[in-house]
Every structure is written in structure tokens, then in C-alpha cells.
């Protein structure tokens, strides 16, 4: 018996069995003819932070399975008037949401909501903390290209410090025996980042990090995060941009991933983002399948 997953808050709460079950279900999801597992179910999309990709991905996933969706955004509700997160959550649950998908700028917000609101909570990103559906869809993408996760070298390059994608991916992948290398300047990859999980290392030289890499995962780098840092934008690009030349340092069959939104010319060049090794479009497709699997799982319809 697998323990029933009620809310998806972060990777650390999941057993490896639960991760494998979600991935297996996601693989079976047929986007052309999706199973109507969530007919008459209501999914609320509570987004306290701007998001296009994740929001529409969850929305498409819920609707594909037959559920209805309602978007709750700060500008269109009492959130702006100072209502607490717990009160907003209670309201959303009591009007009839069967599950709440939440994106929030504060780390831990989904955990708070799940402590008080008794419908399944799906964390669609909380501050710098977790983005579990992204890690699951990335694992799905990697396993579509690699026989097994065990022994792979995954380089995550960019602003790791601020990245919930980096944390979620590193926690998930190391559970399956992947060597995860965080790479970036010290402000983005502090030494402490290597304490995240056994199997995680920190490296400040991309040319070294990429050697032997099976997967190169570039993260978005916001220019404003480089203000008052040791590196200028030009220096960042010179040292950490993923270019065709650098991709050659990785294994010949290495894949390039990016959680989006891609800032072309910053963390990656267009040649790489659009190149033969890029899986960026596939990630987006896998995102819908994975979120279908997640919603079906937490709503007990899997």
C-alpha cells in the first residue's frame, strides 16, 4: 500500500514510490484523449504571483481531465484588502474548491495553507523554496531521454540561490542517485547550497561543471539580481551563459533544459535554446501531463 498523497507541497514529503507513481501516471496521460477523471470537480488556482506557464499548465491539466477551474488573483479579490492567507484559503475551500493550486511569493506559504485548509493543496511555487510539479515534469523529461536516473550528472546553472526550481530538482534527482552540480557565481551558488542533499555539489566554473554532463539545466537569471553583485551582466554572460561551444563540453547526447521563462541572450543563446539538444518545448508538454497526474493523484482519482 502506498500512502495516499493528500497535498503536494514539496519534494521532501514524497516517498520514492509516490514520485514513481506520479511519473508513471503522467506517462500514461494522453493529451489527445485525456481520461475524464475529474468530472464535476473544481480546482481553484490561487496565484499570488505572476505566472503564465505554470498557471495555464495547471488550468489545461485540470480542464483536460474534466474539472472546472477558477482563478483567484490578488487584484480581483479581497487579498488586496489584507485578508490573511488562511482566511482566503478557507473561503476558497468553502465555496466549493476540491483542490487549491497555489503560487505564492513567500517560502512556506503552501505549508501554512495545508495546515489549516482541509482540501488538497498543490504547491505551484512558494518563494525560493519549492516547485514540486516542475521537478516532477523535469524528471519525466529526463527519463524520456535517459535509460535511468541513477548515475547521471545534471548541471543546474544560474541563480540557484533564488531558485525553487533548483531546490526541487536537486532534492528529487539526488533521491534517485543523480549527481547534481549547482553552477554559478558565488552570490548565486553559495557554498551552503551543497548542503541541500547528499549528491549535490557546488561549482563556480561552468567549463569544469559541464564536463561529462548528461543534462544541462539553465535557470532564468534576472538582470536586477546582478545589481550590487560582484559580477556585471557582461561578465555573467561571459562566464555562465550556455553557448553551443560550452554544450560541447557535455556528453554528446546531453540534453538542454530550461524551466522558463527563457531570457535569450542571458543565460542561454538562441542557438542552444532552439538547438537539437533542447528539450524546452517537451518540458512544457510534459508539464501538462505531469500536472494532470498530480491533480488526479491528490484528488484520489488516479
Amino acid at each position: 500500500m502506498k500512502p495516499q498523497l493528500r497535498s503536494l507541497l514539496g519534494i521532501s514529503q514524497l516517498t520514492t514510490g509516490q514520485i514513481e507513481a506520479i511519473l508513471a501516471l503522467a506517462r500514461r496521460m494522453d493529451l489527445k484523449r485525456p481520461p475524464q477523471l475529474l468530472r464535476n470537480r473544481h480546482v481553484a488556482l490561487l496565484f499570488y504571483e505572476a505566472s503564465t506557464r505554470t498557471r495555464i499548465s495547471f488550468e489545461f491539466a485540470a480542464k483536460a481531465l474534466g474539472a472546472t477551474t477558477t482563478q483567484v488573483t490578488p487584484t480581483s479579490s479581497s487579498i488586496e484588502k489584507g485578508e490573511s492567507l488562511i482566511d482566503t484559503g478557507w473561503t476558497v475551500a468553502n465555496v466549493g474548491a476540491d483542490a487549491i493550486v497555489m503560487r505564492h511569493p513567500n517560502s512556506g506559504a503552501a505549508y501554512l495553507l495545508a495546515r489549516y485548509v482541509h482540501v488538497p493543496i498543490v504547491n505551484a511555487g512558494d518563494g525560493m523554496h519549492q516547485h514540486p510539479s516542475q521537478a516532477l515534469l523535469d524528471a519525466l523529461t529526463i527519463t524520456n531521454h535517459k535509460k535511468k536516473l541513477q548515475g547521471l550528472r545534471v548541471v543546474i546553472v544560474g541563480d540557484v540561490y533564488h531558485s525553487r526550481v533548483a531546490r526541487s530538482n536537486a532534492e528529487l534527482l539526488t533521491r534517485f542517485g543523480v549527481d547534481v552540480v549547482f553552477c554559478g557565481p558565488p552570490d548565486f551558488v553559495p557554498e551552503i547550497a551543497a548542503t541541500l542533499a547528499p549528491g549535490v555539489t557546488a561549482c563556480h566554473d561552468l567549463n569544469i561543471a559541464l564536463q561529462g554532463a548528461d543534462v544541462v539545466m539553465a535557470l532564468r537569471v534576472q538582470k536586477e539580481r546582478l545589481v550590487n553583485k560582484q559580477l556585471s551582466v557582461e561578465e555573467y554572460i561571459a562566464e555562465y551563459q550556455v553557448t553551443p561551444l560550452r554544450m560541447r563540453l557535455a556528453k554528446p547526447d546531453a540534453i538542454l533544459m530550461h524551466p522558463g521563462p527563457v531570457i535569450r541572450g542571458m543565460e542561454v543563446t538562441s542557438e542552444v535554446a532552439d538547438g537539437p539538444q533542447s528539450c524546452i518545448h517537451e518540458q512544457v508538454r510534459n508539464g501538462v501531463k505531469t500536472r494532470m497526474a498530480i491533480l488526479a493523484t491528490v484528488l484520489g482519482a488516479a
Binding site: L9, S84, L85, I86, H104, N106, S107, G108, A109, Y111, L112, Y116, D126, G127, M128, H129, Q130, Y161, R164, R167, P190, I192, A193, T195, L196
Partner: protein
């Protein structure tokens, strides 16, 4: 005392570090003073009320150098009446109330208001007044007027006195009045946006972390200013191994530097924040294991002068929010002695008289509270009676505080307050 003019506490073990006394003794209180301390039986028949203390420790009343009573201005968190009721239940006969009230206690008027009988305090309240107007860190307050009104120290607690010149002037002026400057040592230029200690846990949780250096550099700066001015700095809620070492070195150099630590920093570490438990969010934050070990060492070797709670009550709606938005602070008055006994005495074998010293005689010395922190004849009739062996479970729902924000709800402890007598009046009886 109105209804009774004398109490005889008999059969107990009196620990009075200030008098060098640790023996079976009876204590007679009369007219809000200690009238006599004598061998068992010798004072028999002398009190109107007799209190049997067999198996208990009879100690000078505990003094908490660091509490937030939230009055004036935030009675939804705590009032002086409820805060001192919690103090009495925790064995404290005197509490030193920090000035970050609303408005800030930067005046003689507010200082007197806090001590007015109308506040309904169950134990002695000694205000610590603001060091700068509005605690804004710009202009020093009138220390002399504040002292005359009853303030026992100055501090901008909750915030540091950051500016070098201002701190130097504060130390100089306070030294002339023989009062300490209490420093909340935090370089706020380094801690903006931070909600916990910097370490593996903060990285994992995606929270900005406060470095040890943000505390220790201020402590080191203050020690240099003490050297220059001859003033007395008291480091509030010291939490890092580096700051502790700085205090240790300063003491060796003969400087007037004292420090307190909280029970929670002696007990918990940053990894206990768990899944964003806001009852583990306070400032300074819970630190690394190595810091906690250093603080224990600092207790054992005498570098740390006092245990102070930093009792910081907050309402549910101020704590049960997103971690980064939650108020800093936890309640602590009712769990201080149980933690001291359970952690320091039972686990680290600190003698009971040292615990009494940390909770009573040393705090009295640091803030110059005359005739307190001792049971010597003629001193104030402030007495704490506790059972060092009693096992019990603390329940936040039964706290005397108005607030429930404690990480120790449901914890089992050894050591419980039996009775608290403040100014000859029974303020708490378990």
C-alpha cells in the same frame, strides 16, 4: 502586605548565592522585607502564615532582564497585568520591560505610567527606557530623567543602536548615571529581509538568513566603545559563538560587559524550524548546533551572566501567517525555570545554585537592583519557591500570558514553580 503581615517559609533548602548560602533554612518575611533567615525550627511560630517548603528550593525571587509586556499600545498581545501574571507563574518577582511599546517608552511619563498601581502588576516592573527618541537611533533620550522616573537601563531593543557616535555617547551618559546600555546586537544593514539563521536550513527552506557576523560585529564594536568610555554594555539575548567569545575576552580584559541568553537559544537550534513553524521564529534567530554548544559552555564557564526570556507575546493572527511575514518572538516566562532545570541542571549538571545565580542574583547586579536577588536580612521580600524534581507538561493553552506563541507547547519538563512571593505578597501559588 495588607491581608497578612508575615510569612514563614519553613522546611526548605535555601539557596542564596549572594549570601553564599545553600542549606536547610527557614525564611521569615515581614512587612515586604526579609526579616530573618534561620536554622530549621528556630523561627517557628513567627509568621502569621506558615508555608511548608519541604523538598523545595527557596530562592531569592527571579529577575527577568528582558520582557515585552506590550503596554502601552498592544493590549491584544499582552498587558502588564497578564504579563506579570505569567511572570509570577514562572517564578519571576521582577521583570524588566523593554521600551518597544506603542508609543515607544522614551519618556518619564510612560516610564511612570508603566509602574503605576493601576496597571495591576502582580510582580515588580522595572522599565528599560528607550536610549533614543522613538528608538529611531537619532537623538539620545534624557537618561537622567528616565532614571529618576524608575528606568533601570536604556535600550532600543528590537533594534540596535547602530551609529558608532551615538552608541559611544549613550555609553558615556549611562556610565555617569551608573546604568547599563542594553544592546540588541544586530547589524540591520546585513539582515534586511531575513527571517531565520543563515545555514543549511535557511537555504533548504528558501529563506534569507541572518549571519552570525551581523550579531558579533556589533558586540565587538560595542566592546571597543566600552573600552573607550568606561561604560557598561549589557548584550541582550546573545546567540552566537563569536559574540560569546568577544564577551569572554572583554571580561578577561576587565571591561564592564555583561550578557544574557534566552532559554530557547540554550535548547533549540535552527533546524527545528521544520516546515516553517513560526513559533520557532524569533530575533535573534535559533542558531546552529555549534552556537548552542558554545552558549552551554558559556553558561558552564560563567561567561554568561544571566538567563533572560525575551518574552515576546504575539496574537494568533500575527504569528499564523506566511513565515517571512510572521512577527519575531515567543513567550517564555513560564518555561524559563523548567528549561534551566531540565537542560542545564539535569542534562549538563549545572548546580542548582548556579541556576539561581543566573536567574536572580546576577540579574540584580547587572541592573543594580538594590536589595533584590538575595535573601539577606533586610532585602525585599521577593522569594521564589520551586520543586526541582517535579515532572510536568507545559500546555500553552493554560498559560497566564494573553498569547500562545511558544515552541514548548506539550513539552515535558522537570522543575516547577511552587510559589512566587513578590514584595511579601503571594503572587502565584501552584
Amino acid at each position: 502586605m495588607k491581608d497578612m503581615d508575615s510569612i514563614l517559609i519553613y522546611g526548605g533548602r535555601v539557596i542564596d548565592p549572594a549570601s553564599g548560602l545553600d542549606d536547610d533554612m527557614d525564611v521569615l518575611l515581614r512587612d515586604d522585607r526579609v526579616a530573618a533567615v534561620g536554622p530549621p525550627g528556630k523561627l517557628r511560630g513567627q509568621g502569621k502564615r506558615a508555608f511548608k517548603a519541604k523538598g523545595y528550593i527557596v530562592a531569592p525571587g527571579f529577575i527577568d532582564l528582558h520582557v515585552h509586556l506590550r503596554e502601552p499600545g498592544q493590549p491584544h498581545k499582552e498587558t502588564i497585568a497578564t504579563g506579570t501574571a505569567a511572570a509570577a507563574a514562572g517564578g519571576f518577582t521582577s521583570v524588566c520591560a523593554m521600551p518597544n511599546t506603542v508609543p515607544v517608552n522614551d519618556s518619564a511619563e510612560i516610564t511612570r505610567w508603566m509602574q503605576s498601581p493601576e496597571r495591576g502588576a502582580l510582580v515588580n516592573v522595572f522599565p528599560v527606557a528607550a536610549a533614543t527618541a522613538g528608538s529611531l537611533g537619532e537623538k539620545l533620550t534624557n537618561f537622567a530623567a528616565l532614571k529618576r522616573a524608575g528606568a533601570v537601563a536604556v535600550s532600543d531593543d528590537g533594534k540596535p543602536i547602530l551609529e558608532d557616535k551615538l552608541m559611544r555617547e549613550a555609553l558615556r551618559k549611562a556610565a555617569m548615571l551608573k546604568i547599563p546600555v542594553v544592546q540588541h546586537a544586530e547589524d540591520t544593514r546585513l539582515t534586511g529581509g531575513c527571517s531565520m539563521n543563515l545555514g543549511p536550513t535557511s537555504f533548504r527552506l528558501g529563506l534569507h538568513g541572518m549571519s552570525n557576523a551581523a550579531e558579533s560585529t556589533i558586540v565587538e564594536r560595542d566592546i571597543a566603545l566600552v573600552r573607550a568610555t568606561g561604560g557598561h554594555v549589557h548584550v541582550a539575548h546573545l546567540s552566537t559563538r563569536e559574540a560569546l567569545q568577544a564577551v569572554r575576552d572583554a571580561k578577561k580584559a576587565g571591561l564592564r560587559v555583561t550578557c544574557e541568553v534566552t532559554p530557547h537559544h540554550l535548547t533549540l537550534t535552527d533546524d527545528t524550524v521544520g516546515e516553517f513553524n513560526t513559533n520557532h521564529k524569533m530575533n535573534p534567530p535559533l542558531r546552529a548546533v555549534a552556537d548552542r554548544e558554545a552558549l552551554i559552555e558559556g553558561i558552564l564557564d560563567g561567561t554568561i551572566d544571566a538567563i533572560a526570556t525575551d518574552h515576546a507575546p504575539h496574537a494568533f493572527h500575527e504569528k499564523e501567517v506566511e513565515f517571512e511575514r510572521a512577527a519575531f518572538g515567543i513567550t517564555g516566562l513560564e518555561t524559563a525555570l523548567p528549561i534551566a532545570i531540565t537542560v542545564l541542571h539535569q542534562h549538563f549538571e549545572l548546580p542548582l545554585w548556579r541556576i539561581v545565580e543566573l536567574l536572580s542574583s546576577n540579574p540584580a547586579k547587572i541592573f543594580n537592583l538594590r536589595n533584590r536577588g538575595t535573601l539577606a536580612k533586610g532585602s525585599h521580600a521577593d522569594v521564589t519557591i520551586f520543586d526541582p524534581k517535579k515532572k510536568w507538561t507545559f500546555e500553552a493553552s493554560r498559560s497566564y500570558s494573553k498569547s500562545r506563541n511558544t515552541p514548548f507547547d506539550g513539552w515535558s519538563f522537570s522543575g516547577r514553580i511552587v510559589a512566587t512571593i513578590a514584595g511579601g505578597r503571594v503572587a502565584y501559588e501552584g
